[in-house]
Symmetry: C2
Subunit: 398 residues, 2 copies
């Protein structure tokens, strides 16, 4: 077992120190995870970060589920990029998800590339990276791996499970599979199934990766050359879907990039071209192309209704979890309509649910940005659940 | 000069013969086209089709402008694919644009790959295909080439200029540059400038082509291997933008392709994946990758306001052309809002304009599909203009 490493890092505002523990759970081969495909898979390493302290009765744990290209570094600097964690707006000392009150756990997902076992990990049968020998996984499989971690931490019931986009899919899957283990659930900017348009965009990204001759059917790890170009194109296409047309218009319009006129060439004349190229090229430095294939596939396969005899409400029948469903007005990747379908299913089984559509023109990316109304929503919901759960402000059960 | 070839082809319904003339205009090097980039470009061949007969006073000519991946085969079988022309719903004997009444001209655009000079054509200076030595062109340059053709045909004023998508951009440019030569103008599913989101999607497509190692910086013609994979990815990404989310949902939903369950692989499990892959792979058989780069660039550069001191209305000041602007409710590539901007500019100069938003859930592609309300609109507008212009039903001036 790798040792836990706890470090003090300045929080995003630079005003407070935040204790972060970087840890790993090694699940041995003789205790494999049963995947939805029927495969018994192991060994599995789960890399995870924790922030704050678990109270004595272990009732103040919040699991954060990350999105497609996210990772466990939710509130501390990402080691590869040196950038602030992806949700420092929301998670930290005094933040809506307050690390002074709650024990926050964020694992890298199964299939990921930041420490948890994924296609770039060594296949013990061959001594080489899995590549395409890695099994095709599902959102449910990601949740099973997380459940092992929660078992390991000795936590019977999570106080809350929170996530946006693909993280929200995991939240829904948690609330469906482990009804008694989730006190509160916050699925944000997400859907109970992946739409055909979203499958289509993912398929474009996968084909872009697979068209790159350096992809080598997934066996590119030993050669030292990765399918950069294909992955960059995939990221560029995806990135457009994360923004709203209004946001693109306001941010870039038809502005030219550091030039007075069109160059009559294929240079990045427009700011939006330059921005997209930058998004593509920086992404490949921090992400594994095969992980991108596997994770997008898992999202495409996600259909919580299909898992429950084609009736979404069945997924939540008997739930006592408190739900807070959040969508953003300009999100066209996971439009409000799809959040409403979740809410309707929850209403159909008389679940405790609140639903907030946040006014924002930032598109899907809004869930990662500085959106005060969103933060107030989360702070209010988590605070009210903590009160009902009898958690004192110090995170202890009253 | 290549000879004109006139053939009788069955019309789309198979019930009527349609006479199609396949012709070429060769513009010599010593009479070059002055491009917007400042380059004097020639020689240029323009491949074009005509349908119907020009009346004696040459007042019944309708110019059809094709879109990004369209061609001159508007109403007859496309020779490479064997499929019906792309606008047989709209153009033909008895159709809204009636080849029994009007002389219909459809040229392949400058930069195209179906006979008109483009990047795959031989550069007389080198004896080799232009590749990236082809000049970067604009929508205005396409119109200049068409104007040469209209001069050659001895037509002072076109009765109408009609086109959708990029074809609509050419219509607007015609109406702006040649106010006295356009009696009626029908810009369909288009915009007066290309939005940043649309530039972004085009840039993804170009990067996909350029990432293909077979692209060879555009010099792939001699090797016999073309950048198939890159162009296919570009087409797949673009194709998503041509459909509405509703259309994708209704057409495919999450339906699986010829299988009972997910395969837990990267096969095209979903119908929408299979459909997109098919769209990508058939496109590369009929289209040149460099043409795709040049034409998307021309669209990105299009900004009729910028060409007129940043005031779109200036583009139409003094016009006597009758306009019919058409948009479709579910078109998110060229949303109705952008058609309204055209209408507002026309209103600002007291132009004669009617505007119709057609209810359709087919997305941008609606302009190419069987949309009865759209056809009725075109039939009504063209018929009423013909009456005002004094054209009898036989296409002769009264």
């Amino acid at each position: 077992m790798k040792p836990n490493i706890t470090s003090l890092e300045a929080d995003a505002a630079g005003s407070r120190d935040l204790a972060v523990t970087h840890a790993n759970l090694e699940i041995p081969a003789d205790d494999p995870i049963g995947l939805d495909s029927g495969i018994e898979f192991g060994p599995v390493n789960i890399a995870y970060n924790t922030y704050g302290a678990l109270n004595t009765d272990k009732s103040n744990a919040i699991l954060i589920c990350h999105a497609l290209t996210g990772d466990q570094h939710v509130a501390n600097k990402q080691p590869l990029t040196g950038k602030q964690g992806w949700w420092t707006h929301l998670v930290g000392p005094g933040k809506p998800i307050d690390t002074d009150r709650y024990f926050v756990i964020c694992p890298n997902i199964l299939g990921g590339c930041l420490g948890t076992t994924g296609p770039a990990s060594i296949n013990p049968e061959t001594g080489l990276p899995y590549g395409l020998k890695f099994p095709v996984i599902t959102i449910g499989d990601m949740v099973e791996a997380q459940a092992r971690l929660i078992d390991h931490l000795g936590i019977d019931q999570l106080f809350a499970v929170v996530g946006g986009s693909m993280g929200g899919m995991q939240v829904l899957e948690w609330a469906s599979r482990y009804k008694d283990r989730v006190y509160a659930a916050v699925p944000i900017a997400t859907a109970a199934w992946h739409s055909s348009q979203n499958i289509a965009f993912h398929e474009v990204g996968r084909q872009a990766v697979m068209a790159d001759p350096n992809w080598l059917r997934g066996d590119y790890y030993s050669g030292g050359v990765v399918p950069r170009n294909g992955l960059a194109v995939a990221r560029m296409a995806a990135h457009i879907t994360y923004l709203s047309e209004d946001a693109l218009h306001e941010k870039f319009g038809r502005n030219l990039q550091d030039r007075a006129d069109r160059t009559f060439s294929f240079d990045a004349d427009f700011q939006v071209e330059s921005y997209l190229r930058h998004q593509g090229s920086t992404f490949v430095d921090r992400f594994d192309a095969n992980s991108y294939l596997y994770i997008t596939r898992a999202m495409d396969y996600f259909d919580l209704a299909a898992e429950n005899n084609d009736v979404l409400a069945n997924a939540f029948r008997g739930t006592r979890t408190r739900f807070c469903v959040v969508s953003f007005t300009s999100d066209w990747l996971y439009p409000t309509r799809e959040s409403r379908e979740i809410v309707q299913a929850l209403n159909a089984v008389a679940a405790n649910v609140s639903f907030v559509e946040i006014e924002s023109n930032a598109g899907h990316d809004a869930f990662l940005l500085d959106e005060p109304e969103f933060f107030a929503t989360i702070r209010g919901f988590i605070g009210s659940c903590a009160q009902k759960r009898g958690l004192t402000s110090a995170g202890k059960e009253a």
